[in-house]
């Protein structure tokens, strides 16, 4: 039986279909989760997709943090369930304090859509364990509020503990220390701004490098945590 990966739809989620396609192409079963429902439908992992949840009211991700489904996800993540947040999903994870730091307006103040060259910095997460550290991947980055910021102590701590997961090779938004994605201490929760789910088919994406994200979590789920 293939793994079941829940994909949350908030009002304003946009890349939920893309996430479902990526999960499907990687050989897992996508399961729709609804923002206003605590049920996680027995999923093995959760994908928080991109978009503009609740219209980005107040701040990106600020309202989603208080949704019913996030209560359940926070509890499950605390118990080790793999959770990935992409773009708006990353913003939701930061607002929910599942990940440190925050995502603010791009330094150049505009939305920008460009393929982003990234370096995978670590394989010690549920969502990157199949990547060789140092591997270069290309995922589309498309956002207006993707500049990763945190205080110096937090950034130093992230660097020291190997929790910077993806780093930009051509920083598109002014993110501190070129950070594109980070993980929590346990390595089960990962957030990143660029979109691996848009890099799963040669026909429609800049690469197929994104398949490794879902493939990693499938390996993680089948083999258990072996770090």
């Amino acid at each position: 039986m293939s793994a079941r990966i829940g994909i949350v739809t908030f009002p304003g989620s946009l890349d939920d279909r893309d996430a479902a396609r990526a999960v499907h192409l990687a050989g897992a079963e996508p399961v729709g989760l609804w923002h206003d429902d605590t049920a996680l439908a027995g999923v093995d992992a959760v994908f928080l997709p991109g978009g503009f949840s609740y219209g980005d009211a107040l701040r990106c991700g600020a309202i989603a943090r208080f949704s019913q489904v996030m209560d359940s996800i926070k509890r499950a993540a605390g118990a080790g369930m793999p959770v990935v947040g992409v773009c708006n999903g990353f913003q939701v994870l930061c607002e929910s304090h599942l990940l440190p730091g925050a995502l603010v307006r791009n330094a150049h103040l505009r939305y920008r859509n460009r393929p982003a060259r990234l370096r995978v910095e670590t394989d010690r997460t549920a969502w990157t364990r199949l990547y060789e550290p140092g591997t270069e991947v290309v995922f589309p980055a498309k956002h207006g509020e993707g500049r990763y910021v945190a205080d110096e102590a937090t950034l130093d701590e992230l660097e020291r503990t190997g929790r910077v997961v993806f780093r930009y090779l051509d920083n598109p938004n002014g993110s501190m220390r070129d950070i594109a994605g980070v993980t929590n201490e346990a390595g089960n929760v990962v957030g990143l701004m660029p979109h691996p789910e848009h890099a799963v088919e040669a026909l429609t994406g800049p690469s197929t490098d994104g398949l490794g994200v879902v493939a990693s979590v499938l390996t993680h789920l089948s083999e258990g945590v072996s770090r």
Binding site: P11, D15, R17, G55, R110, Y111, H198, L203
Partner: protein, 759 residues
């Protein structure tokens, strides 16, 4: 700010009793005879609300009163095709892709609002066209935009352009639609009248096609989406001002509506869920004329009448009078006609998404559209008199006086670069010019990949979107206009734009099947403008007939004029094509090293209206290049064939800037170099910069040269080998003439827009 609530409502009873009450019909844009006709239709004077409704529905924007007599040509000349499931007169044209799937698309203008308030004007233009697509029962899947601004270095362009791009990007990105292409041009003719034309396309199972009919007595009328406010009321404020307290703040309402893409996204999801569940009898979007238009059009399309209780409309401003509610252009609203047994479920499903849904009336058998406000009847009219029986004008036409002089002022006689060094510099100057330079400063502000079905987007000649992951079937769309050519000859200019959009679709390997148009012109009250309009419409209708693909809908935008200065006549043509397998699409580029570069088509000494004449000489005169639609059809058939057999590695339409610009774009996009040898005896300048129509640069994989040449010869299409793709060549090598390295090409072509806007 609250209004005086003690103002008596002007009811039908009051109107009956006060036949001589003076009414501001002239201020609302109605002519004397039109006002008299309203009185005849009603057998009394109209109430304030009725007057508001007639003035809106009989306006140029809603009634097409100046254009209608000419637009009839589309119906008369459109080729009959079983693909056409819904055509002109519907919210958007619908064409069948196969036995299961259909596609709907339409292009519409939002020119005037985008000048007044660039960001919101452009944003709500995108929002409006998306709702047209939803109203047909389709899921919107992509947007495109065609933009025209004044001179790039004019200070106002730095206000308008970034705002328009921000508005299109913000709305499209938040609503979650990929922007797959379009065009941006600069010309002083658009200085006070920028053009913002937005196209949306959607896909639907054929069985889900929706109707705007309010039929079935007893069915419930539901208003879905945003609350109704005082925004975008425009001219109707005249009505209120007579009865308001003389407080200036009362009129401080935004003339341009404010868009909320988040609510629009919810509207999409809710409507599609309701359609799929079979809960909707009829649907209409609320667009330019708000409830007035939606109520009268659905009632007119149905077989009975309608009764609405206006006080049930959820409002976001206090003290709104009935005519305000009827005229409001608040965005993100749809009107649904629903079986009463299903109304509860419609409301529940809407609320689940957090979207407001309110029953505001019922379908009746009265044959009248009756609107009550707190129990008092404020509107009682035959709905067809609003929606279908507006005035029709036969405006006078006159060829512009200067056209004869302009046509003999040919660009072919202008001084040309004489030496190789001068031609080389011209290539670079052209690549760096506002109309030809890289537009990624704009297009990077748009999401192009959401949904994961975008196969080609800007800078490819057409956007290509996959419709079905199992079969690979997809569509290609291009949006093209050329106001310079149309200024020289509106008939030929319109056909050149049609031919270009058709060819841009064809170079991806898709087969063109349908047309949508956005007709941007000056004042219809100017006979010269009206003449241009008639010629352009005739050109498009004749062109569609010749090409065998129908015009399925579109939009007319008049009054793009400041004082006596009208814009260049600018018909913008959208062509939709179908491709059986998107994996076989032909991209822009240079293929692989060693591939053959060739030109299909004939290059003549045609420079009038060209970008060279514009950039180098600031010149507009002569007659535009010839159009040969027979040739275009053969070319499209050839390209579709070669795409199907995978015998082309890349292709690129030649248009503004000619061969030189096509090479610059192919080289910059591909990362490879090109070795080019012009045919013997060819004049290098003409060959590089002519804008002769019907030409395509193709890249042929090794081993396929003979097959491609034979396929061209069989169709009587001239093909000329020009050279090879070469990874070891740095940029463009034009043998016996000059070299331009990649770095120099890219430095000229890239980064210009931001730099010129002062960034």
């Amino acid at each position: 700010m609250t209004r005086d609530l003690n103002v008596a409502v002007d009811t039908v009873g009051v109107a009956d009793a006060t036949p001589d009450e003076k009414q501001p019909w002239a201020e609302l844009g109605l002519k004397d005879d039109e006002y008299q006709r309203i009185r005849e239709i009603l057998g009394r004077r109209p109430t304030q609300s009725e007057l508001a409704m007639y003035s809106i529905m009989w306006s140029e924007h809603c009634s097409y009163k100046s254009s209608r007599v000419h637009l009839r040509q589309f119906g008369q000349k459109n080729p009959k095709t079983p693909r056409l499931l819904a055509g002109i007169g519907e919210n958007a044209g619908v064409v069948a892709i196969d036995e299961n799937i259909a596609v709907t698309f339409k292009v519409e203008s939002h020119n005037h609002p985008s000048f007044v308030e660039p960001k919101q004007g452009a944003a709500t233009g995108v929002g409006g066209i998306i709702r047209d697509i939803i109203a047909m029962g389709a899921r919107p899947i992509a947007v495109m935009d065609s933009l025209r601004f004044g001179a790039i270095d004019h200070p106002d362009t730095a206000r308008v352009l970034p705002g328009v791009v921000d508005g299109i990007g913000h709305y499209g990105n938040c609503v979650g639609l990929p922007n797959i292409g379009g065009e941006t041009y600069f010309d002083p003719s658009y200085q006070g009248n920028p053009l913002v034309n937005a196209l949306a396309v959607g896909v639907l199972p054929r069985a889900r096609l929706q109707s705007m009919q309010a039929s079935g007595t007893g069915n419930v009328v539901i208003l879905l989406g945003a609350k109704t406010g005082l925004d975008g009321i425009g001219g109707v404020s005249v009505l209120g001002s007579a009865s308001f307290s003389e407080n200036a703040e009362d009129d401080a309402r935004p003339a341009v509506q404010v868009g909320d893409p988040f609510t629009e996204k919810l509207l999409i999801e809710v409507c599609l869920e309701l359609f799929d569940a079979g809960l909707v009898v009829g649907v209409q979007d609320l667009g330019g004329a708000g409830l007035t238009c939606a109520l009268s059009e659905t009632a007119a399309a149905g077989d009975g009448g309608m009764h609405v209780d206006l006080e049930l409309v959820p409002l976001r401003a206090e003290g709104m009078e009935p005519h305000d509610i009827l005229a409001s252009e608040s965005q993100e609203r749809m009107l649904l006609i629903v079986d009463p047994a299903k109304a509860e479920e419609v409301l529940a499903r809407s609320h689940r998404w957090g979207l407001l849904a309110t029953a505001i009336g019922t379908v009746t058998g009265s044959g009248r559209l009756v609107v009550d406000f707190h129990g008092q009847t404020v509107v009682d009219v035959p709905p067809k008199s609003l929606a279908d029986e507006g005035p029709v004008y036969h405006r006078p036409l006159a060829e512009p006086n200067d056209l004869g002089l302009i046509s003999v002022d040919r660009a072919e006689t202008l001084p040309r670069p004489a030496t190789d060094e001068e031609i080389r510099q011209t290539v670079l100057d052209m690549a760096a010019s506002p109309n030809l330079c890289d537009k990624s400063w704009i297009t990077e502000q748009y999401d192009s990949s959401v949904f994961g079905n975008t196969v080609l987007a800007t800078p490819h000649d057409a956007g290509v979107v996959r419709l079905d992951e199992r079969t690979g079937v997809g569509i290609a769309i291009s949006l093209d206009g050329n106001g310079r050519f149309a200024r020289l000859d509106p008939y030929v200019g319109a056909q050149l734009s049609l031919a270009e959009a058709y060819r841009n679709v064809a170079v991806t390997g898709a087969t063109p099947i349908a047309i949508s148009d956005c007709l941007n012109f000056g004042s219809p009250e100017d006979p010269h403008v009206m003449w241009q309009f008639e010629r352009a419409v005739t050109g498009i209708a004749d062109g569609a007939q010749k090409l065998g693909i129908p015009v399925t809908g579109g939009n007319v935008s008049f009054y793009n004029q400041t004082g006596r200065d009208a814009i260049h006549p600018t018909p913008v043509l959208g062509v939709l094509g179908v491709i059986d397998d998107v994996a076989r699409r032909i991209p822009l580029g240079l293929g692989k090293t060693g591939d053959t570069i060739a030109l299909i088509g004939t290059t003549l000494d045609e420079l009038s209206g060209s970008e060279w004449a514009n950039v180098v000489h600031g010149h507009l005169g002569g007659v535009p290049p010839k159009v040969d639609l027979d040739h275009e059809m053969k070319l499209a058939e050839l390209l579709a064939r070669l795409a199907g057999t995978e015998q082309l590695a890349a292709a690129h339409d030649l248009s503004e800037g000619g061969l030189a610009q096509a090479m610059v774009e192919a080289i910059c996009h591909s990362g490879l170099g090109a070795q080019i040898l012009l045919p013997e005896g060819a004049d290098p300048f003409t060959y590089l910069f002519s804008e002769s129509s019907g030409r395509v640069l193709v890249v042929i994989p090794r081993g396929q040269e003979l097959a491609v040449r034979t396929a061209c010869e069989q169709r009587g299409l001239p093909i000329t080998p020009l050279g090879v793709t070469d990874a070891n060549t740095d940029g463009l090598h034009l043998r016996d003439h000059f070299d331009i390295g990649r770095a120099e090409l890219e430095a000229a072509w890239k980064g210009r827009i931001g730099a010129r806007l002062g960034e």
